[in-house]
């Protein structure tokens, strides 16, 4: 009889601990939920050192960029509005990165820290014009990691 009394207390304690763990563990490994996309979808695939887009021209309005980085390097995507030649954007003094504060460049938005196999969705309202999407890590743009987008 005494066994069941002590045993019951013990099993309650154990159950509590297990329950706590059961709640804590999933939380720590939970992934951020992706919000449902809206607007014109554009798929961007990043790799060393290239950006591939599946649409070069999109209508004005809400554009939703679904970005996937194949890696292996971590990348970012900067979106600027500019009339410069996409391949000849002005560079910083070190000559290795784009100077997005230079004249004729409007920085729209950016998303960074895309590691291997990371996905991100960037939703922007774009007015008609010429845009360039590029990765501005050292030497990445010069390696050819950019894409041009026209919004009508």
């Amino acid at each position: 009889m005494a066994w069941t009394r002590a045993g019951r207390r013990w099993s309650w304690a154990l159950a509590l601990v297990l329950a706590a763990l059961a709640v804590a563990v999933p939380l720590t490994v939970a992934r951020r939920q992706e919000p449902p996309p809206r607007g014109t979808p554009v798929n961007l695939e990043l790799e060393d050192f290239k950006i591939q887009e599946d649409a070069a021209v999109v209508p004005a309005g809400t554009v939703s960029f679904r970005i996937l980085n194949h890696g292996p390097t971590t990348h970012e995507v900067n979106v600027i509005r500019t009339d410069h030649d996409p391949g000849k954007l002005p560079l910083q003094r070190d000559g290795l990165t784009v100077d997005d504060e230079a004249k004729g460049i409007d920085a729209v938005d950016d998303v960074g820290g895309l590691d291997i196999d990371d996905r991100e969705t960037l939703t922007l309202d774009l007015t008609p014009g010429h845009y360039v999407l590029y990765c501005n890590l050292e030497g990445h743009y010069l390696g050819g990691m950019y894409a041009a987008l026209t919004v009508r």
Binding site: A2, R5, R9, D48, P72, I116, G139
Partner: protein, 634 residues
Amino acid sequence: MEPRRTAAGGRTGIGRLIPRLPILGDLRLGRRLGWVIFLLIVLVAAIVGYNARAIAQQRGSALVVNQATRQRALVERYTRDVLLVVDGFKADPKDSAEAVRQPVDVLLDGGSVRAPGGDGSRVQIAPAQNWRIRRKLENDRRLIDELITIGDRLLKRGPDNPQYEADVTKLRVLGAQLSSVSNDAAQEITQQTEASISRLVRIEIALGLLGVLAALALGLVLRRAGTEQAAQFRSLVNNSSDLITVLAPDGTIAYQSPSVQRVLGRPAADVVGTTLGDLVHPEDRHDVNESLTKLAEAAPGATDNFGCRLRHEDGSWRHVESTCTNLADDPRVNGLVLNIRDVTEQAGLRKSISDLLHNLARRSQGLVDRQLELIDELERNEVDPDRLQELFRMDHLATRMRRNVENLIVLSGVDQRRRWSESVPLRDVVEAAVAEVEDYARVQVAGIHDLTLSGQAASDVAHLLAELVENATSFSSPTTRVEITGGPTGNGYVLEIEDHGIGMSDADLAEANKRLAEPLSADVAVSRMMGFHVVGRLAARHGIKVQLRQSWFGGVTALVLLPAALLGSAGQHPAMAPPVPAGVMVSPEPLRLADTTAPGWQPHARLPLRRHAAPAPTRGGDTDAAAEAGEPFD
């Protein structure tokens, strides 16, 4: 009820593997405690193991990160060296190229590097396992190869080559890319290390929690076991109707459980220090002392049982049964432990049952006797042989019933004997015994001397003889005879009952003789040997000895030694005759000569049949058989 004891003193399962710790004493460390301790040990081992791994991993990853960050500097050095050489200055691009390669090669394929502390020792780094890190590092290596290719091209072609500017730019771009790529790889490594360390930390926290819980549980269990044991023991000792008494080696009571108040009406304090003998009934003291002394001298752990009477405070006697154990070697006890149970009720019950039995038996006896009288009357008046035959059968049946009833009376233990004031001829006693047996016609009586048997013993002797003769006839074939003969010995007279039957095994013979010599007291007669039990009791009353032996003819011989004190010579009773066969068989038979030496009994020679002239008979008058002078017993 005693708590169940196992071989290891109450511990089962895993508990037995744990040595007896002094603080735990003789608590019953059950399986659950064993499991708790086992779990604790596992947890501690796991925590220690994980810690070691975490430390090792951290050290390893610090080195790794160090390698990764060095690369940027190495790349720059290489680039500079190439450009210097191209511009005509002195430098060693080959060396720097190797230096650039080395970190990535080590990280990917494993190898030994100098320890960062600068103390000159080398540390082994294992090849990277994680697929992300490997992919980044392989990317890194690819870029390094490209870099070195460009570098080589520049060195080969020289500054005057039209591609020079483009190559230099390419070189610089590659260098920049390498920086970011190797940074990325280093970051990845760092992240992985941190993740795995935090995993380890989480696991350790969990283990630690479990360990705390287990320790808590352990404490609980121990505490519970302790209090349970104590409470159980206290309750047992206080509330049972058994007394627990510890006797010191000098015979005084060293400890007495409180239940003595209930059983003997005395408080325990009054009893401690006194001698047990004071409480025991005077008639039982000797036996109790003997048992206790024998136990005290026996090996430690030996036990014994005995029953006796103890005096209640109010003067009455309580029947008790006691189980004692010799615990002289146990330092906490250091004496004899008695577990005493009050069985007064049972003893009283037994007595009333045996009284009841006796009453019933007496009543039946009365009825059967009346029945026999009635049958006597009917037989007397019956002329028709066939009807007489029926009456004989009834007579025989009733006679046997009477014997059974007398068996009951004997077994009921009440000592009421049928007494005859005068002596009875021994021959008549033998004939009476034969009459009570089912197969009386098979019994041949020969050569019983002219002796009388004391009236006190006559009934019992007839009864015990009947039992023995019945035994003889039942265990022999109906075609064989059972012979009863008698002869004098140095200290009495021996009757022999011999059958030609199936005999008894030596073991059974021994058992029967044991029953005959020591008929058990009280009510413990085993039915298989009940007859012998009755015989033994009856014989014991009069100092008669009964023994069974293997007969030379294959069956069993029962020897009954009647002590001289019970016997008288022929002169006491008028109707004696020389030793002759009793009137069962038509034709007289010569006596058999047999050897009746038995261990402990004096050897004697059989008397031969003596023939002598019968004295002149008298006519009429006395309705007894013709008075004749008998043969004096010699």
